[in-house]
């Protein structure tokens, strides 16, 4: 097992772990921040998959704009965390 496979496995594990934490953590703002972390990890995964266009778009739109939208909505519901 060479270094590239090890890096890919670590990255995949980090993605799944951050997704799991985002869905199960109690505080909602932490869930959204873990979602942004997940988005950045997926952007790195796109680079590993030789898809730099997709990585650019996912970093800007999927992690950045989506995260901003979610945090804005969270600000509306701030007193209602489950």
């Amino acid at each position: 097992m060479n270094m590239e496979t090890l890096f890919d496995l670590l990255l995949a594990f980090a993605m799944i772990w951050s997704a799991w934490r985002s869905l199960t953590v109690t505080r909602l703002d932490r869930a959204i921040v873990m979602f942004i972390v997940f988005g950045l990890l997926v952007a790195i995964a796109w680079v590993r998959l030789s898809a730099p266009d997709v990585g650019l778009a996912d970093a800007a739109i999927g992690a950045g704009l989506s995260g901003a939208l979610l945090l804005d909505a969270y600000g509306v519901f701030k007193r209602r965390e489950t």
Binding site: E4, T5, D8, L9, A12, M15, I16, A19, W20, S22, L23, L28, A31, I32, F35, F38, G39, V42, A45, W46, R48, L49, S50, A51, D53, V54, A57, D58, I61, G62, L65, S66, L69, L70, D72, A73, Y74, V76, F77, R80, T82
Partner: protein, 100 residues
């Protein structure tokens, strides 16, 4: 294991986590998060699966590019509807029937 195959497996696991999240989670904002995880899982499978032998395929990359932009539009729409629902009813979960 090529990197395409590793990320395809990760995409499958993310998709399953997303579906379980949509079915089981009641809080609507978290359901939107789960829906986004499902989408990311599908995109990873779409791009990673043709690469399992090492050849880079540009066609699913273009499809995923389209998909990412449509996903953010769908998320924004879902959030707009959720905010409207919150303003109208003050709740963040859909009304549940009694379940056995």
């Amino acid at each position: 294991m090529s990197s395409g195959l590793i990320f395809t497996n990760a995409g499958v696991i993310l998709f399953a986590m997303g579906i379980v999240g949509i079915i089981l989670i009641r809080h609507l904002l978290r359901r939107i998060l789960a829906f986004n995880f499902m989408g990311s899982g599908v995109f990873l499978v779409l791009v990673g699966l043709p690469q399992r032998d090492g050849v880079v395929d540009p066609v699913p990359q273009a499809m995923v590019l389209t998909g990412i932009v449509v996903t953010v539009a769908a998320t924004a729409l879902a959030l707009a509807l959720l905010r409207r629902y919150y303003v109208l009813t003050g709740k963040l979960e859909l009304p549940q029937d009694d379940e056995a």
